[in-house]
């Protein structure tokens, strides 16, 4: 029986075949999905902010791209995944409102950029992405073949 396991905001989870991982209503946050092509072990993290440095309350590593992605990889390795077999997919990073205040400018794009930088440093290729725009996304990541299903309101469903 396939189980679809939820990943909350600022949280991460890992699972193996035949299960799937999902996170609901991604806005400016970014969903980073990693797939081990050999073992079919998958991991997903719902990142809220790019970097943990400079942020006072940074006790939850899953909230940030810089601390969350390495932790996700570690959790996958604990399940038996191997880093050199890992590929990744990204979704989210929307700009929900046109914000004029510079310091909060497009946090969605900053999250996507940070996730890409960390994945590059970790040597994990990004094979697909659906990021940006001004709309929310619900994503479902299947261990079966590493496909990522993306649902929106009014903009349909697609698979990457």
């Amino acid at each position: 029986m396939m189980e679809i396991i939820k990943v909350g905001m600022a949280d991460l989870n890992v699972t193996g075949y035949p299960n799937a991982l999902t996170t609901l209503g991604l806005g400016s946050c970014v969903g980073v999905c990693i797939y081990d092509t050999k073992t079919k072990i998958i991991g997903m993290i719902h990142i809220m902010l790019p970097y943990s440095w400079g942020v006072k309350n940074n006790t939850n590593p899953a909230k940030f791209a810089d601390t969350g992605i390495p932790l996700l990889i570690e959790k996958m390795e604990e399940l038996g995944a191997t880093k050199k077999n890992m590929v990744s997919k990204l979704a989210g990073g929307a700009q929900m409102f046109e914000v004029t205040r510079s310091e909060f400018m497009n946090i969605g794009k900053r999250n996507v950029d940070a996730a890409k930088k960390v994945l590059y440093e970790q040597n994990i290729p990004i094979v697909a992405e659906d990021t940006g725009g001004n709309y929310g996304r619900t994503i479902i990541f299947y261990s079966e073949d590493g496909r990522l299903e993306i649902k929106t309101i009014g903009k349909g469903t697609k698979t990457i």
């Binding site: 905001m9 609901l24 309350n57």
Partner: protein, 205 residues
Amino acid sequence: MNLSNSEINEMYLDVLKELGNIGTGNAVSALAMMIGRKINMKVPVVKMVKLQEVPEILGGAEIPVVGILLNVEGDIEGFIMFVMSQASAHLLVNMLMGTTLNGYNEFTDIEKSALMEIGNILAGAYLTALSTLTGFKMIQSVPQLAEDMAGAILSFPAIQFGETGDTALYIETEIFEESSRIVADFFLIPTIESYKKMLKALGVA
């Protein structure tokens, strides 16, 4: 005086509850004047919620909601945000425009303007209350409106709070008119510097 974080939070909550009461009172008077009918309000709920629970406030991360966002500038800088279910937003529009609810379609431009105007009035009411309590001057920007999944809309205040802590503060406002019940979630999101300034002015820190 040395206070623990939880003591500060408790005191801050009390002050914000008062702010919620005054603000909601102001908002209801303004709305009642606008539509020329009597409106009742319920004492609002003020809560600290875990960030992970934020999208659940309106019944799930995928529920379609309407969000109205305003920029705040002046002595206090930050954002104000209102989040309503589509049903509540429709009731508000009907109340304001004297129309009746006929199922959900996308809001027309006029309906969106009406909602943003309500956002203006509500924000003004809360800012006036805050200004009365603190003596700070604040100016609100033109509101912006977005309709999308609750999780996506609420990721905005959640991220802003995410820089200060793992909990979000929200004020739930309930407005009644005859059989209509409208629930609007109100988020006050000051910048970190303004947050400190506000705590000090409110006599908490």
